[in-house]
Symmetry: C2
Subunit: 332 residues, 2 copies
Amino acid sequence: MSITIKDIAKVAGVSHTTVSRALKNHPSISAETTARIQHLAREMGYTPNIVAQSLLNRRTNTIGMVVTTIADPFMTMVVDGAESVARQAGYSLFLGASHNNPRDELDVVKTFHQRRVDAIIVTSSRVGSLYATELEKIEIPIVLINDQQDGKYLYSVAVDDIHGAQTAVEHLISLGHRRIAYLGNTVRPEANRRRREGYLAALKKAGISPETNLIFDGVTGDDVALGAQILDDLRAQSATAVFCCTDMLAVGMLLSCRERGIAVPEQLSIAGFDDIDIAHFVSPQLTTIHQPRRQLGQLAMQMVLDLLNGKSANNQILPCELVVRESTAKLS
Amino acid sequence: MSITIKDIAKVAGVSHTTVSRALKNHPSISAETTARIQHLAREMGYTPNIVAQSLLNRRTNTIGMVVTTIADPFMTMVVDGAESVARQAGYSLFLGASHNNPRDELDVVKTFHQRRVDAIIVTSSRVGSLYATELEKIEIPIVLINDQQDGKYLYSVAVDDIHGAQTAVEHLISLGHRRIAYLGNTVRPEANRRRREGYLAALKKAGISPETNLIFDGVTGDDVALGAQILDDLRAQSATAVFCCTDMLAVGMLLSCRERGIAVPEQLSIAGFDDIDIAHFVSPQLTTIHQPRRQLGQLAMQMVLDLLNGKSANNQILPCELVVRESTAKLS
DNA sequence: TTGTACGCGTTATCAA
DNA sequence: TTGATAACGCGTACAA
């Protein structure tokens, strides 16, 4: 049972109103009683009850963050960025995982709503357009990370998938590759679609006509396994390079190449997307598209705070850049 | 402005008490009005206000989790495990990062207290014994992950560092190594101490006398850099094997070996501790001690829930096991 | 300068 | 079967 301002009031022989004011250094309370009460509060181990304050304020100073899974090297940094900005502004962060399950995702959002979070941040949602209709009812700002949707309370911060993918594939083309495969995963359909689009744009620009049997789309949660599994098909199509929709796909392919004695990048150039930490720990180190992950989280949270402070906010698309490492090389 | 039960009451022409009961399927309300009100509630888009409920219940159904940093492949899984257990039990998770800064850590805990979380989980704390005195005042269960402390409300779930480290070093000894170095990092003093203890125990058991100049203790936040930096000293002492206190240290050393053309494991055997994901993506794959990370989080949360349900709970020490991969080999 | 009374949204007690 | 009232902890308009 925690100490309340009424408890302090009783001991101090004043009303709880006076205590409330003294603790907030309200000017109308005499310096003397203010000091006395603040001292007393500390002595009695008083801690303000934010729950009660929230009820009164109609503001919980709380943000709900929905991620697909926390155990994802990509999400991790985004959450980290968001949390640090939130805390510095006096907000606390609720974290919920959707595990790539739309039902769970809506469930988490619903719980957040019940807890009266002031705003919600959602990363790589799978609920898609459902949001637009379902979430406007909540009437609080919702910032989508890497997933644009239109709606009254909907905002987004995203990385330029199309252009990023295009840059990666242009890099492969500049190395002399022509038979360039695309490996995607439909678990995140929108990102996959945009990155494939970038891939196609690069080919088109170079006058290379795309081939359906060089485009692979997996449907599993385990990107590493998928990358490995696709390798044979890809070689059968005599691809000399592959652009993977995510680094984990690329890593799976890399490991699989090592197992089967396929030299990377000599026999096969591999490029990824995301620039997760693992990218420079594998060997050869992975050429990839760097996403400003922490910044993504920070920006999303800053946007939320701006909106809560009545400022306006514009959707943002962050550029991402090519990082050339060791897994891509000139076509021999 | 959200819909409240009073709003519904007005529309339905009943008292808000009746609405409250109807929504909870209270038996004393007629089936008819119950149905009518539930329908109305859905139609009006009513969402219960947990904040108000919490004020009344003196229970927020909320757990605060403090991690050093979210951007740590180890923490990530622990949080993931904890979150899933919490949510299934109807609890929400507050996440706060201490960034290895004791001041921040206490700050986060204080905020959690103000928010009246029902319990707190702290991973790899740096505050140490400060907790025992400081945190008992909060009078809620606190579960420490990988950091034992004694106190009335203090519980812990930890991995058996000593035995784990000992197993790793015994593995190296069994491969014929005698000049085995230890590489630690004092940023996490307690874990470091225990793992060094396990290292010494293994040497002693094998009748090898420890040498001070084979024991290295770094003091930087960047384990990868530290591992690299120590490599020369270690070679100068003609160590043939090294046991690293964390996988990141081992990875740093591994990468540095590759750069300088030192063959692993032929010229130097390297063993780590943690079994983070990266361990099987580096090449050679890292021999290490596997920690049941997700289980650690799950168990901690389960313990919290048990305590909140009035059950008793016992501190737990989980075994961890050796995973032999490619970075260790027979002394040639 | 301080105190009284009310309300935030909900549930529980008691009465009708 | 339903309703009026009080209470959770706090802040604030108004009164003293």
